[in-house]
Amino acid sequence: MGNKQTVFTHEQLEAYQDCTFFTRKEIMRLFYRYQDLAPQLVPLDYTSYPDVKVPYELIGSMPELKDNPFRQRIAQVFSEDGDGHMTLDNFLDMFSVMSEMAPRDLKAYYAFKIYDFNNDDYICVWDLEQTVTKLTRGELSAEEVSLVCEKVLDEADGDHDGRLSLEDFQNMILRAPDFLSTFHIRI
């Protein structure tokens, strides 16, 4: 393959290739997308591992994310400090997990994190209400929202503690064959 690029060293590219689901070409393409977000901020030479973070506002304005109601949560989950500002590693990680090749367990793990709005490692009723509100853009009445949340807990809560743990979520995802095709961003 014509290695005329000077952005990464050969070892860096290999490491990225081994640790994500992308090939070399895709990694370079992703890098240029990242760089396009903030051309002044992101250097064209990553051989010295510069510590550059693209702020969340730019990430959230990407065409793939800008109409997604969960874009803030996605950026928070994959960013280093949970604030939504992403380094190149975070960026690659995010699109690798959301790509077609990522296995179901990995996607389920990150989906759980995304829907856990208060980061308490459980999806409680409040998290569910937030999810449903964001999904319907606030067009369901409060009563309908709480009814939906109650039904979701009835169906998915295995140990009846009033909230969904990671295992409950994974068990529910196993029963949903669409999950792999919907939890997928093409880049």
Partner: protein, 809 residues
């Protein structure tokens, strides 16, 4: 995520006064060593709890609700208050650390890699099931998982990773839910250090292992190169992305299905090209007469100057090509080629078509079973609300108006689910049900009647065409039958749609499936009649001519007409409809993209290709060209004229349904047609590779006999042929075995369902136990805290004041 996650409830630092430490469960002297004693103590204090309830600051209701079966823990605003000791214990519960902290993830993956390595080596005594819990048995965790430091755990994981092969290590790394920087660290650390390698002895063993490693690495790199090459070959990446972004997964599944069909046709075409077409093109037979000039109508009819080319069966010779002259078996011309490889054309024709079909069959069944396995899960009937909330937002959607549509769809779906739940509680009256059943029956009757009428029309028209004895020169008139068939195929579905308005189904998915069913029945019946017309009637009437060429040309005409009518349908159905609706009123909006109808069209076209492969080996090439055109036409029309369907289907179910429809009526029917043509029908005597034989299958028998005569060394082949292929006993045996395996599998699935029910019950019981224990623990520590506070107060204040306070409460 790289940061170690803070636990939810802040565990404040306890003051480390040595004489008055918090009682911890590790101190055997402080804590009762049996729950029995604990419960006895608790029952003694129950009477006093009524007084102390007033002193509880927050969350009294949450803790006291031991009677309800769901302890609903409140959100961050109203967390129940636990004492610090309880919190510490709760925080170190294994279930709280699963998958959250880095240490737990590392432990989990350590245990997984150990299992992976052990599987390669010695067998395990007990199969450790897949669970997300760190395996407590593998290393001495005791009660506190923080005993092993995170670095130690990472060291253990790295050591295990080093023991894996490169591919396994990469697979394990990619699947870990850690951040990319950490994965790179792990990868760096787990690579075999180069210095060590050189320091080893240069014995034969190390040479071999080095060679093996480099082979593995080379094949790994080759695999990556092939993958990226394949991705470059796969067309339409951005087109599919745009379609998915604007219209969602359900419309995208149509285009993905089109891509799959392209792959199937390429798979079919390659052996045919390599073994039949190319060889015959290299050794052309003597021209039988002057070829007619190209008129332009040939593109539609497939006849004329196309007749005596590699396109059709009649061109292929029945001799052994490239044979030196001195052989008594060749029946055709004798070209004195020296030193060439003799090529038995009839055998090659039969075997190549057979093998190509077999490969297609295997690929189809494999993709169908994989798709089915993905979409069917044991016990997957419930959970529709949870699935709608968590799995229905399509992350691929990128346009503002498309995401708005999704919001609307999800809101409608949720509302419908809630309404359905309420409706189920009120059963419908018997009268309404009877009425609906009558209407349903009537509509089905009308649809089946329409199908019957269409099939009769096709039958009579085909008889008419035979009786009018249209000769090969009047090519244009031969287009009449395909025209009629295509018109009926186009018109009847619209009629079905109109009739379907009368019946009102409860679920929209059922509506679509019923529509697919009706269209499918129509197409199957019409194709069946056409097959009878070709193999039953045409063979008889074209006794002295090349009927296989004729059938091949008929199929070519059908394909071309089908393509033209699909274009017309796209134009009329979508473009004109949009113009009309735009001019009339804005509220109707653009027409919806009819996924079911379009997919059935694709399946129909593919069936025609499979039917015609035997008689026209280049038909898959035509189908490939047609599919390529169709992709761009449909995409353009979709972008310009349509909107996404208002009721989105489940994408995975749809792809399963499409592949199953492709396999069962379509491929199976074509295979049956092919088998009948090969086994039962006498090939024409003036053209083609089988002209001197009684059936096409005889070519194989002739070859086996030839081998028998050739010498005793190959005697096992005729034996196999006589006892395994010709006789029916192996087929009975294989069917019986298959039925037994299917029955066993059904029993296994039933057993699995029972086990799942039991496990669910056990899980909910364990959850109740857990909450019970937490509450009891909390009460123990509260009691201890209270008694400790009481003791210090007693020490500080004079007893008189204390009793006054107590009386005042």
């Amino acid at each position: 995520m790289s940061r170690s996650l803070a636990f939810v409830l802040n565990v404040p630092e306890t003051p480390q006064d040595p004489e008055d430490q918090e009682p911890s469960p590790y101190d055997e002297s402080e804590v009762h060593d049996s729950f029995h004693q604990l419960i006895r103590e608790q029952s003694r204090w129950v009477a006093e709890e009524g007084l102390e309830l007033q002193h509880r600051a927050l969350g009294a209701g949450a803790l006291g609700a031991s009677g309800s079966d769901r302890q609903a823990l409140l959100g961050p605003e109203g967390a129940p208050v636990y004492s610090t000791a309880t919190l510490r214990i709760l925080a170190s519960m294994p279930s709280r650390t699963i998958g959250r902290s880095r240490g737990a993830i590392i432990s989990q993956y350590y245990s997984r890699t150990v299992r992976l390595r052990r599987r390669a080596g010695r067998p395990q005594l007990r199969d450790v099931g897949r669970s997300a819990r760190p395996s407590l048995r593998l290393y001495d965790l005791e009660l506190d998982p923080a005993v092993l430091e995170e670095d130690e755990k990472q060291g253990l994981l790295v050591k295990e990773l080093q023991g894996l092969t490169v591919a396994q290590r990469d697979h394990m790394l990619r699947g870990m839910p850690l951040s990319l920087a950490e994965k790179r660290c792990l990868r760096e650390e787990s690579r075999p250090p180069r210095g060590k390698r050189r320091a080893r002895g240069h014995g034969l063993l190390s040479c071999c292992s080095r060679l093996r490693e480099s082979c593995i690495l080379a094949s790994h790199n080759l695999g990556l190169v092939l993958l990226s090459g394949l991705q470059a070959l796969m067309p339409w990446h951005y087109a599919l992305k745009r379609i998915g972004g604007q219209f969602g997964s359900s419309v995208l599944s149509y285009f993905l299905f089109l891509k799959t069909l392209l792959a199937f046709n390429t798979l079919l075409l390659l052996p045919l090209l390599a073994f039949i077409v190319a060889v015959q093109a290299a050794f052309p037979p003597a021209p039988s007469g002057s070829a007619p000039a190209f008129r332009g109508l040939e593109l539609l009819t497939g006849g004329g100057c196309f007749t005596h080319t590699v396109m059709y069966y009649g061109y292929y010779s029945n001799a052994t090509l490239n044979q030196p002259c001195a052989s008594p078996l060749d029946g055709g011309q004798c070209t004195p080629e020296a030193g060439g490889l003799p090529y038995n054309m009839p055998l090659a024709y039969l075997f190549t078509v057979g093998v190509a079909f077999f490969i297609t069959c295997i690929t189809l069944v494999y993709s169908m079973s994989r798709s089915f396995g993905e979409s069917y899960r044991v016990g997957s009937t419930s959970g529709v609300h949870a699935i709608t909330v968590f799995c229905s937002w399509d992350y691929k959607v990128t346009q503002k108006w498309a995401s708005r549509l999704q919001h609307d769809n999800i809101r409608t779906q949720l509302k419908e689910l809630l309404a359905e739940g309420q409706l189920r509680q009120r059963p419908r009256r018997a009268c309404g049900r009877l009425q609906q059943g009558a209407v349903l029956g009537l509509v089905w009757l009308l649809c089946l009647g329409t199908t019957l009428v269409c099939s009769l029309a096709v039958y009579t028209f085909s008889e008419l065409v035979i009786q009018s004895r249209v000769s090969a020169e009047q090519d244009g008139a031969l287009l009449a039958l395909p025209l009629v068939v295509c018109l009926l195929n186009l018109g009847a579905p619209y009629l079905f749609r109109v009739l379907a308005v009368l019946e009102r189904h409860d679920s929209p998915v059922l509506e679509v499936y019923v529509a697919i069913c009706r269209n499918l029945i129509l197409k199957v019946v019409i194709l069946g009649i056409l097959c009878y017309h070709w193999l039953g009637r045409r063979v008889g009437t074209l006794k002295d001519q090349c009927w296989e060429d004729f059938v091949g040309q008929e199929l070519y005409r059908l394909m071309v007409m089908d393509f033209i009518f699909t274009l017309l349908d796209t134009l009329l159905g979508e473009l004109v409809w949009r113009l009309i609706s735009e001019k009339r009123s804005q509220r109707k909006g653009k027409p919806e993209f009819d996924i079911a109808g379009n997919v059935l069209e694709l399946i129909y076209g593919q069936t025609l290709t499979w039917l015609g492969v035997l008689f026209s080996p280049l038909l898959p090439a035509m189908q490939i060209i047609k599919l390529l055109f169709l992709f761009y036409v449909k995409k353009t029309s979709l972008m310009a004229n349509c909107q996404a369907p208002r009721r989105p289907w489940k994408a995975s179910h749809m792809s399963t349904v499409f592949i199953s429809l492709l396999c069962f009526p379509s491929f199976l029917g074509a295979a049956v047609f092919l088998c009948y043509a090969i086994w039962q029908v006498k090939p024409s005597s003036i053209c083609g590779p089988f002209r001197t034989l009684d059936t096409m299958y005889e070519a194989g028998k002739v070859w086996v006999r030839h081998l028998e005569e050739a010498g005793p060394g190959v005697s096992w082949l005729p034996w196999i042929h006589r006892y395994l292929v010709e006789s029916a006993f192996p087929i009975y045996l294989a069917s019986a075995l298959l039925l037994a395996v299917i029955y066993l599998n059904i029993q296994v699935v039933k057993g699995q369902r029972k086990v799942i029910c039991l496990l669910k019950e056990q899980l909910s019981n364990e959850g109740e136990d857990k909450i019970f224990l937490i509450n009891k623990l909390q009460r123990v520590y509260e009691r201890k805290e209270r008694s400790r506070v009481g003791r210090t107060e007693e020490a500080v204040m004079p007893p008189a004041v204390f009793t006054d306070d107590w009386d005042a409460q």
